[in-house]
């Protein structure tokens, strides 16, 4: 298990308030809704019984509306917020048991974070902001400036080294935040709604930037967002949270194709299904009268990419994995999805 997961979270709780630790220990209190809990104990449960694993190199997205506990969750993973109960195993080590010094070490070398409001130091130039993490862990000046220049190039900030944060646009400032997180060369990057404060166009640019960086440096990323489209674009897997609890965890097409409950279904209603769902979700079992010598496609092909092939063929397209026939797709299934009629179970 520990070789395949970077982060493993088990039964994580964060409860704010007086004597918060009694909540996760009492089955009775655990079962209450948030509102009932506040009325009974005055405590607010921000994260309740969350468990998930993140694989190396994966982009893991946590999604939820404001107040769903997602920002608290990511802070629990780095212990910026102290979890109330549960386990956070990072590369085989339970970091909830780590001492102050060990925790600082982990933060300096193993993971870093990008914040919604950037968190830049206004009195420092871009290059010194980027080098801040290295400075904190005691790198020499030459070393940290060299590394900072490298990362500045990587995020496309060449020429702005000596600007001050307030001279940059929001998108540029977040590039600085990104560079600062990358500069310490961590194993995992945490993103706390990094692009929520940006304009839609710039947000799109920055998402592309993250995709590009992920391809280039291959870091494991945990990404918090309230934007479903952002989650679907970036996430290998997505965890949906509501009122502190996890509702569903899966790939984008799993969420859209098989929503766990009405909440998720409501959430994904407006997603352009053809660009998320794969053939696996629309294929049907071949019928006796089907002619089975049509073109073949894999089950993971996104519907949008299969439209042309299916419509051009005059017979059903076969969905095949490793030579095994899984099902067939015809123009009817494709058109149902493309015209957005809710027919998928």
């Amino acid at each position: 298990m520990s070789t395949e997961t970077v982060i493993s979270v088990r039964d994580l709780w964060k409860v704010f308030g007086h004597k918060a630790d009694r909540v996760p220990r009492s089955d009775e209190l655990k079962a209450l809704t948030r509102r009932e809990l506040i009325e009974r104990t005055g405590c607010t449960a921000a994260v309740r019984e969350v468990s998930f694993d993140v694989a190396p190199g994966e982009v893991f997205v946590v999604m939820g509306l404001s107040g769903s506990g997602k920002s608290t969750l990511v802070r629990c993973l780095t212990r910026l917020v102290e979890p109330t109960a549960g386990q956070v195993v990072f590369e085989g080590e339970d970091i909830l048991g780590a001492g102050k010094r060990r925790l600082r070490d982990l933060r300096r070398h193993k993971f870093s974070m990008v914040f919604q409001n950037f968190g830049l130091l206004p009195y420092r130039q871009v290059i010194d902001n980027v080098a801040y993490g290295l400075e904190i862990r005691g790198a020499s000046k030459a070393e940290r400036l060299r590394r900072a220049r490298e990362v500045i190039d990587l995020v496309g900030l060449e020429g702005y080294e000596h600007s001050y944060p307030d001279q940059l646009s929001g998108g540029m400032q977040q590039r600085v935040g990104l560079a600062r997180a990358l500069a310490v060369d961590p194993d995992v990057l945490y993103f706390d709604e990094p692009f929520s404060a940006l304009d839609p166009l710039i947000r799109r640019d920055m998402q592309n930037e993250v995709i590009r960086l992920h391809r280039e440096v291959g870091k494991t990323m945990v990404f918090i967002t309230h934007d479903l489209n952002e989650a679907l674009r970036l996430g290998d897997r997505i965890l949906i949270m509501r009122d502190g609890r996890q509702v569903q965890c899966g790939t984008g097409d799993e969420l859209v194709g098989a929503p766990a409950d009405d909440y998720v279904r409501d959430f994904v209603r407006d997603v352009p299904r053809a660009s998320v769902l794969t053939l696996r979700w629309v294929m049907r079992q071949p019928r006796p009268d089907d002619v089975l010598d049509g073109p073949e496609l894999g089950p993971e092909v996104v519907i949008r990419d299969a439209v042309r092939t299916v419509l051009a063929a005059d017979r059903p397209v076969k969905v095949v994995r490793d030579g095994t026939l899984l099902g067939v797709v015809t123009a009817e299934e494709i058109l149902t999805v493309v015209t957005d009629v809710e027919a998928v179970a």
Partner: protein, 652 residues
């Protein structure tokens, strides 16, 4: 009358209470008529109560044991010696003949050059020019030595204040628990009139520069603590988290994030500390602090308006210079927050120039002693005298009319009501008002204050002071609402008036006495007018800010509904600015009280006089101490009653 200010605020909320308050006041007057003159607890100026005798004895005992009790030997005397050596060092440096020389280490040229250089480095060339001009002006006034004494004491107190205050402020910024502990203490310290710090300190530290400096640093420290804590607390959460997430230690977080990002606010705290220190140093002349304050007080006591004016002007100039320089330095920090690197060569050149000037002033007499023959101080004093004379002779009809109108219409009736009422009647009215306006807590506080006031043996003097305070506060609120609403509604008026008010607020309290002494001569009315002028700026600004802060949408919708200007003011702006009005009344009261007491110097009598007399006459020492306590009690009581009617806590 007693509820002019309070009544204004309550009219819009909790209907029914105004009627009750009016009923209480009416009942007071009705009982007063037959009960008048009994149980008034009067005490003639020379009489003492057992408490006063006892305090005198305490003073004597302390005096006798000062050099033997370990408490003094190893604690208070040590502090006094340390502060004294710092102040003496500064005085030797710039003010007093020292080290066997007939002149201080640095003469006028050196001081002017160093001050200008430092101002230039931290604040820019405009403040530097102003500073140089201001300091040369002290010399021209013939007040160089006095000014430097004042500066030395101020600097000494400020240095110690900051050394203690900034670390405490950092602590309060970091620790919620300490912040909760220290805030009420600071609130209390800031509500105390400057005056009352002095007496108890003389008991511990004798009179003289050391005591004066200690009183000053205690008075000047709260803003440093408060603003440092505030600065640290308002650093954006995200910057702190970012630093934590990168694994910063506590110290790295403090030096890398918290302090740099709160630098601007901390400099503002330094500015306020300096201004508070200057204000206190001048008043500390009452306990024998050397400098400009002493010159003013001596002149006030002999009613020498010209000399008082000259020295008062020097205090004003010093206040303006110190304020401008530190404000400009603060703005620079806030705006850039970055080190400017391009001025290195100039920095060195001007540094050398300043050093040369310093050397010259150390070595040559002409650069050490300010030349006598160019002094204009005498001329200034004479002109001020003749203006005062003209005012007293030719304006007397006008000034007398104003004075008499207010004295006979407001002051005398109110004073008669307060002073001639039996103590139990006034006490009952105060407690009832507290009950009507506030909570159980304010009732308890008020009752305790009344009881303790009786205990001080100075009940009647307290009532006289209270009458003056109420009249002055009523006038302050009248001014505050009128001018404040005007400023709040009219940007142009705001732009013109606000700088005047700002300048007024930086002035040390008792320079206000001088011009009104010229106009109204030595009476309690002088003290009242000075108090009104002293307290009005803060009240006006609070009201103006309150009116200005009303959301534009609210004002717009009222306009859209067809409100006239008068309807707008009475139905929208004043009701919505109600918390500001309460706050203005509260702050106005505190300012007025402190000034009315200082007015004891110019014939206002009552508690202020008791305190001053306590400093100068040994047998009245205990009475002065008790008067100081009475002032504090009055302050707490008024503060509680004024604050009680406001839902939010009124502190800024």
């Amino acid at each position: 009358m007693a509820t002019t200010t309070v009544g204004l605020q309550r009219t819009w909320r909790r209907p029914g209470k105004p009627v009750l308050v009016a009923a209480v006041l009416l009942a007071w007057v009705l009982i007063w008529v037959p009960a008048r003159g009994v149980h008034t607890l009067g005490l003639s100026p020379a009489d003492l109560t057992p408490l006063h005798h006892w305090l005198n004895d305490v003073n004597d005992t302390v005096g006798a044991n000062r050099d033997s009790s370990p408490f003094f030997l190893y604690f208070f005397n040590e502090i006094r010696a340390a502060v004294d050596s710092l102040v003496t060092f500064l005085q030797d440096l710039i003010a007093q003949p020292s080290y066997g020389r007939p002149v201080p280490v640095l003469g006028w040229l050196g001081v002017v050059a160093v001050v200008a250089y430092v101002s230039w480095v931290f604040a820019g060339w405009k403040p530097a020019l102003l500073a140089a001009a201001g300091f040369v002006f002290f010399g021209l006034q013939g007040l160089w030595e006095e000014s430097m004494d004042t500066l030395a004491l101020t600097l000494g107190a400020v240095v110690i204040s900051l050394l203690i205050g900034i670390p405490l402020g950092i602590w309060a910024g970091l620790s919620d628990r300490f912040h909760k502990l220290v805030t009420p203490v600071l609130d209390f310290m800031q509500t105390m009139p400057t005056f009352v710090y002095l007496a108890p300190l003389t008991l511990l530290f004798l009179i003289g520069p050391a005591s004066a400096t200690i009183a000053t640093l205690i008075y000047a420290m709260p803003p440093a603590i408060r603003l440092t804590a505030h600065g640290i607390r308002s650093v954006p959460r995200s910057a702190v988290e970012a630093s934590e997430s990168l694994g910063a230690t506590g110290r790295q977080k403090l030096t890398g994030v918290l302090l740099p990002l709160s630098k601007g606010t901390i400099v503002l705290g330094v500015n306020q500390t300096i201004m508070a220190a200057l204000s206190m140093v001048t008043i500390a002349a009452l306990i024998d602090a050397p400098g400009l304050g002493k010159t003013v007080i001596k002149a006030l006591q002999t009613l020498d308006v010209g000399t008082a004016f000259n020295a008062g002007l020097a205090i004003v100039v010093m206040a303006v210079v110190l304020d401008r320089v530190t404000t400009a330095a603060g703005n620079r920090v806030r705006q850039t927050g970055r080190a400017a690197r391009f001025r290195r060569p100039l920095l060195a050149v001007f540094g050398v120039v300043a050093a040369v000037c310093a050397y010259l002033s150390h070595t040559y007499y002409w650069a050490a002693e300010f030349p006598d023959d160019v002094t204009i101080g005498g001329t200034l004093a004479k002109s001020a005298d003749s203006v005062a004379l003209w005012a007293q002779q030719d304006l007397s009809t006008a000034t007398e009319a104003i004075k008499n109108a207010i004295t006979y219409a407001l002051l005398n009736p109110l004073e008669a009501l307060l002073v001639e009422s039996p103590w139990w009647l006034v006490g009952a009215v105060a407690v009832l008002l507290a009950a009507l306006l506030g909570t159980v807590r304010s009732v308890i506080t008020t009752a305790a204050c009344v009881a303790l006031l009786i205990g001080t043996g100075l009940w009647q003097d307290s009532m006289t002071t209270l009458a003056m305070t109420i009249v002055a506060t009523a006038m302050v609120m009248l001014l505050g609402v009128a001018v404040g609403v005007w400023m709040g509604r009219n940007r142009f008026a705001d732009r013109i008036i606000r700088p005047v008010l700002d300048a007024g607020q930086t002035m040390p309290a008792f320079v206000y006495l001088v011009p009104f002494l010229a106009l109204f001569s030595a009476t309690r009315f002088t003290a009242i007018v000075a108090a009104v002028v002293f307290a009005a700026p803060v009240a006006i600004k609070i009201v103006a800010d309150g009116v200005r802060a009303i959301p534009a949408a609210t004002a717009e919708s009222a306009t859209a509904a067809g409100s006239s200007a008068w309807q707008m003011i009475t139905k929208v702006q004043l009701p919505m600015a109600r918390p500001s009005l309460t706050l203005a009344a509260n702050q106005g009261l505190i300012y007025v009280l402190s000034m009315v007491v200082v007015g004891g110097l110019v014939g206002a009598g009552a508690l202020g006089y008791d305190v001053v007399a306590g400093f100068s006459q040994g047998q009245l020492y205990g009475k002065g101490l008790a008067a100081g306590a009475a002032i504090v009690l009055l302050g707490i009581m008024l503060d509680r009653i004024a604050r009680a009617s406001s839902p939010s806590k009124g502190s800024n």
